[in-house]
Symmetry: D2
Subunit: 208 residues, 4 copies
Amino acid sequence: MPVLHDEIPDDGDFDADRKRGEFDHITPEDFVSGADNPPGWLGSADIDRARHQLPIAYVEIVPVRTNEFGQIEQVGSLLRMCEDGAIERTLITGRVLFHESLREAIARNIAKDLGELALPMIPVSLQPFTVAEFFPTPGVSEFYDARQHAISLCYVIPIAGDCKPRDETLDVEWVAPSNVVLDQFISQMPNGHGRIVRQALAWAGSQS
Amino acid sequence: MPVLHDEIPDDGDFDADRKRGEFDHITPEDFVSGADNPPGWLGSADIDRARHQLPIAYVEIVPVRTNEFGQIEQVGSLLRMCEDGAIERTLITGRVLFHESLREAIARNIAKDLGELALPMIPVSLQPFTVAEFFPTPGVSEFYDARQHAISLCYVIPIAGDCKPRDETLDVEWVAPSNVVLDQFISQMPNGHGRIVRQALAWAGSQS
Amino acid sequence: MPVLHDEIPDDGDFDADRKRGEFDHITPEDFVSGADNPPGWLGSADIDRARHQLPIAYVEIVPVRTNEFGQIEQVGSLLRMCEDGAIERTLITGRVLFHESLREAIARNIAKDLGELALPMIPVSLQPFTVAEFFPTPGVSEFYDARQHAISLCYVIPIAGDCKPRDETLDVEWVAPSNVVLDQFISQMPNGHGRIVRQALAWAGSQS
Amino acid sequence: MPVLHDEIPDDGDFDADRKRGEFDHITPEDFVSGADNPPGWLGSADIDRARHQLPIAYVEIVPVRTNEFGQIEQVGSLLRMCEDGAIERTLITGRVLFHESLREAIARNIAKDLGELALPMIPVSLQPFTVAEFFPTPGVSEFYDARQHAISLCYVIPIAGDCKPRDETLDVEWVAPSNVVLDQFISQMPNGHGRIVRQALAWAGSQS
């Protein structure tokens, strides 16, 4: 599948045959500027087959605004256009690519959804606050993904810069943990993503 | 690939088309007794292709013996027969199968290496103490796996029962964290597995 | 303050002048049998003064029953007789004594509330799932303790044995995380202890 | 004990009778500018008595420089003048004051040692990477503190700003985790503080 200039590789893109090192000096900006898009993204047939054969590694990010003491002042959620035209509320989530490190995957997915000036403060340790297991069968757990079995490493990441939603992301909305609107937002996040927000706030010690 | 009676599915086996729920009442003993071996293990061609296309989700377990206060008294390591006939020292490690939960994967891999009477005390939270990223290119990180890009969720798991090494696992050796032999054992674990032992002991607050 | 035979040292007891090593071979049973009660418990005047002068280190334990995969099947809570004769629902909580290790404090407080046959499975790492800060001023945080500023390291601890409530603890009640009764129990735990149960379940990945 | 203008309250200062809320709008700068020094610091007799009666709650901070991916690029250590005139290498460490939150204690102690422009990035969760237990008896654990039994919550904190060592802190030295000099620095940190650096790097997944 050819990747066009200035196009962000999306979740169905692929990455075989890419050699280690090609990502070494790539910053989120490189993914945006397009000229240095990583080679080797595969067609959708391959990723579709893999999705029915083995668990897919994901990162899922709860974006937050913090004060100078590290306390969460606002929790972010994304409004996104689905393939069927509906709008859904969700978090930042994406597949880890072949030969991509978790830190690269986190930076790339944040840049993809929030733009290149978001200035994420990626944590010192990659110990996730939880691991969410999404199964393709509804009802067996609180986490459901029709496409695949996904193992998602979940992180809370403070965003220090400016957000410019991109591509299918229509808007980023921020709300204080103590605001009653948060309950409404969480209830709008389907398939367990709202639960991940609650787990994040519990882990952070935020009132919610 | 047919799975024979009493055979433990190995790392190259596969699991497509297995429905959620087939593992629901399966205990490690089921994997051992053979009559209820999960259906759907795939041939090695599929898993080999996937290994060159996307990261593979793994669990890696540092088995320990603890005292009544939860302190590590002994760290276990496995002596295993490699395919080329050499013997290597390693930890308990295995792929997460399609539609298998992390807790099932942990229990299955421990039963596979230590036998069905090991009585692992799987922790209440699946927050791993570290996530080890193995790349198929030597030298780019401390973790190397020639076969694949593996994302390995690492856990320290107390073993309360009796260990009977099985299959390619020749022996399980236990040593106290304070014993100088541990340094020797760690140096014998290649490709970063020894480093995972050190990280486990640091996280547990054990002297080493 | 003299400590009588078979009496469990309570929260107002003290421990000055005790030498390191006196606890080394003490198991929870020793605290119960009485003959080996640690020396040096101080009078209540000293502990009262300290409570108004500096933060007091505590451990707080959410007792759980787990299945063979480590999943929480039941959460425990204590019914306790208050000094004023009222009955309150609470968790296992107690001060860390001078020269006592955290592991000793955890074992001692569990034995004190659940009896000597509770068989707690103290975790390999003492990294708490949260740190609750109780302040003596109502309303400033979700955690309130009229007596003191307490810094409480919180742990989820599986109980493998039999519970015999002791002293002021009247009963231990167990309920499944998915049971609607849990919400009622949590609402009965005042001063933030119910919130600690919610944080524990979120960290453990339990449905609640 | 009177606290003079522009003086940083030191570890022997005290805090009784301070009301909750007096710290609410206090930033590290307030501690520095002096005019708003918190009231209620006690004399050394009281703190000395408490140190022999019960465990003292501490925070201990490993300052680091990170890159845009959150990886540790440098680890900081302090050179400090001891009371006897000797120079020792250490970390940022300090007592939590009465009615002071952990986040306030972290910010205050960093400002005290690194100055008011250090811009620490205090983490979203106060789950410490380890809890170090210092006992006043040499040899019983790897952590020793002649003055007291201290329970120290340990954090790795990225420093984004400029450091101006203050008071008894003579200098802050930074070294890359992969630099052989780090081993030398660690060996110069007595009483277990070097071990905390190793635990921090293991938890962060840094090579060392």
